[in-house]
């Protein structure tokens, strides 16, 4: 009898725990609510759970929600309140494909803001194209993203830009003769590496070793053993934050003394928290230069950026994340969609044509030109300062 009571108590406890955790976050991925006449709903598909949730997912919500708040404070879009319907794809292509169909089937949606990874975008793209629905990704950066479908738009600069910039860091700034590359086996990373190698070849830098890993790996010693044994001057790490941090630590644990470069996608506070003391002689090429410094509150040279910083600080009582830019990219995308919808409403065809026709939109991250990449006015090369634990721009390329 007592055992039955214990079993029952434990069972009830588990049910309570599950219930509490499943309903704790009011903004968790939720089913879309039926639109009323006074509302315009925009679906946003982002990694709200899983490995990217705490970085990309959190910043996505902060940036997008901030934009919505400011727009609604000024009267909304065509007098209607803008509401974001959040969906969670965990950053995975398989989840993205399923959610794409769900969103495309809902006639209340005129456009979709999605996805984080290039893999997820490619998986979902055919569905949106078939539905005649524009897909605007704030974050994915594959060079062919906007070339594979006429419904695809992006805010982030192309990996072609960042890959070549990474090559410039290695060949120009570091004057390396031999480089090794460690990259994840995913679309963004492979694309970045393609342009990196192209630039290294053009500059006469030999790639002595190239090693891949699976996203989610924690042990990089097999790859690093091969890399370190090839004695490169520089190791280029093309990865997301967690893996980049672990690779940095494990490389230094193996007493690798050469330089490291990381991709902008890994420039998050978490990487600094995990590997700051090992980030000596570590470099990054990123869009921004001055923009990064502006986003970090050091300068108010650009009104669009300054307004964003001010609004972010006021809303969230903290500094906006700077380097990876995921929050500001989400913010920009919602704003440009709102501008288009103000003219054409929530009609799919109208929004698609409106986005194509958009020129010279002043975004925090530069200017959005129609269907293709944002133009970054300046590119910057940064070096990590282990004393201040910050990225310091050492070179600006206009």
């Amino acid at each position: 009898m007592i055992r039955k009571i214990i079993s029952l108590v434990v069972l009830v406890a588990w049910v309570l725990v599950i219930s509490i955790y499943s309903t704790w976050d009011g903004e968790a991925a939720s089913e879309a609510k039926a639109a009323t006449a006074a509302e315009i709903h925009i679906p946003v598909i982002a990694p709200l759970s899983g490995p990217l949730a705490s970085s990309a997912g959190r910043e996505a919500r902060e940036g997008a929600n901030l934009a919505v708040k400011l727009i609604n404070d000024k009267g909304g879009v065509q007098g209607k309140i803008l509401i974001l319907d959040w969906f969670d794809d965990r950053g995975e292509a398989s989840e993205a494909a399923v959610l794409a169909q769900k969103v495309a089937d809902d006639k209340n949606y005129g456009v979709v803001v999605a996805h984080f990874s290039s893999d997820a975008c490619f998986a979902a793209m055919p569905t949106y194209e078939k539905a005649g629905m524009a897909m605007v990704t704030p974050w994915a950066s594959h060079a062919e993203l906007t070339q594979r479908s006429p419904i695809s738009f992006r805010m982030s600069a192309s990996t072609a830009i960042y890959g070549r910039l990474n090559g410039d860091v290695i060949a120009g700034t570091l004057k390396a003769k031999k480089a090794a590359i460690i990259l994840a086996n995913a679309e963004y990373h492979k694309d970045h590496t393609k342009y990196l190698k192209e630039r290294l070849a053009a500059k006469g830098v030999q790639v002595v070793r190239e090693e891949t890993y699976m996203i989610g790996d924690s042990d990089f010693r097999p790859q690093l053993t091969n890399v370190v044994n090839s004695q490169p001057d520089v190791i280029a790490i093309v990865g997301y934050p967690k893996e980049t941090a672990l690779i940095i630590n494990q490389a230094r644990d193996m007493k690798y003394k050469g330089s490291l470069t990381i991709a902008p996608a890994a420039a998050t506070p978490e990487v600094i928290n995990l590997s700051a003391k090992n980030m000596t002689d570590t470099y990054m090429g990123a869009g921004g230069g001055t923009y990064t410094e502006v986003l970090m509150g050091k300068s108010a040279a650009n009104k669009t950026v300054a307004d964003y910083i001010q609004a972010f600080r006021s809303e969230y009582k903290k500094e906006p994340p700077a380097s990876a830019g995921w929050a500001s990219q989400a913010y920009d995308v919602i704003r440009v969609i709102a501008v288009v919808m103000q003219k054409v409403g929530n009609d799919r065809k109208g929004v698609l044509e409106g986005l194509k026709a958009t020129k010279n939109f002043e975004a925090v991250n530069g200017r959005l030109f129609g269907a293709d990449r944002a133009q970054i006015p300046e590119l910057g090369i940064s070096k990590f300062d282990t004393t201040s634990r910050q990225w310091v721009t050492i070179e600006t390329i206009k």
């Binding site: 039955k4 970085s55 053993t225 091969n226």
Partner: protein, 293 residues
């Protein structure tokens, strides 16, 4: 090549802890506790919280994590396994419930890390400065030695317990034949509950070792090692502790060699190929024999 073998030994040592946990439970009740991966994660999170966030040091962190996860194991037995055993129901019901438990614990770990840390992962600093030891062209660190040494000491202690203490003999008798053990005066219910406690404590130890070794803890820490530990226990021999250790070392070596010599994408492929090969050649595992349940 030699370097990859050294790397593989460290990896295999961690798998050995997890595989031993699986084997202990299987030897007792003939079922697999599929929640081990999540328990490993929970253990690592707890150890981090106690040792680093509360500043109580790695010793107390490890002890706290092992006790808490051991308690979790005991609760698992009391709520999900023991009632089925008493009713002599098939153990696959318990297997399914541990699968569900794994999902719940994994979700809890994800939500806790997301809300508490606002970060995907947290640093777990080693309790000592890491220094490199080089012998010829082979490199390893004092951290590698610490991980291998801790696992070795644990295995020796476990072996000593199982063979030289009354409690260990009670465990062996229960695993061999629970009815005879009952007749001999062994309280088999308590023995089985203790094994669940011990196996989850081992999972917590494995999680803590992994956290220190990789220098970080995330909510997905235990997913892959949990599966690999299970595979290792099958390769070595179901219900065989020595087999679990052997299987784990073999698996660690194979993974490290595959990742280093072929490519990282083959790491998991090698693990599953090894399992399939074992099932085809010797389904009971390397050290598995007639003693199966």
């Amino acid at each position: 090549m030699v370097q990859h073998i050294v790397n593989g030994l460290t990896l295999g040592s961690v798998y050995a802890l997890i595989a031993t946990g699986y084997s202990l439970v299987f030897s007792m009740v003939g079922m697999i506790n599929l929640a081990f991966g999540a328990v490993l994660t929970i253990g690592a999170l707890l150890a981090l919280q106690i040792a680093v966030e509360y500043g109580m040091g790695i010793g107390l962190g490890l002890l706290g994590a092992m006790l808490a996860c051991g308690l979790l194991g005991w609760l698992t037995d009391q709520s999900a396994v023991e009632p089925l055993r008493r009713q002599r129901l098939p153990m696959y019901f318990a297997l399914l419930s541990t699968f569900g438990l794994n999902m719940v614990l994994q979700n809890i770990a994800e939500n806790v890390s997301l809300r508490s840390w606002q970060a995907e992962f947290k640093p777990f600093p080693a309790p000592f400065d890491i220094t490199e030891i080089t012998i010829g062209s082979i490199r390893f660190s004092n951290l590698d030695l610490a991980v291998i040494g801790t696992v070795a000491v644990t295995m020796v202690a476990l072996h000593f317990y199982m063979t030289r203490t009354w409690g260990g003999r009670a465990v062996t008798m229960t695993a061999s034949d629970s009815e005879v053990a009952e007749v001999m005066g062994v309280n088999t219910r308590w023995v089985i509950a203790f094994i669940f406690f011990a196996s989850c404590a081992l999972a917590a130890l494995a999680g803590t070792m992994m956290g220190i070794y990789y220098g970080s803890v995330s909510s997905s820490l235990g997913s892959s090692p949990g599966m690999k530990g299970f595979i290792a226990s099958l390769i070595g021999g179901r219900g065989q502790i020595a087999g679990a250790v052997l299987g784990a070392l073999i698996l660690g070596l194979m993974e490290s060699l595959a990742a280093g010599l072929i490519g990282s994408g083959y790491r998991d492929l090698v693990a599953f190929l090894a399992l399939i090969a074992m099932f085809l050649v010797k389904p009971t595992g390397i050290l598995g024999g007639a003693q199966t349940r």
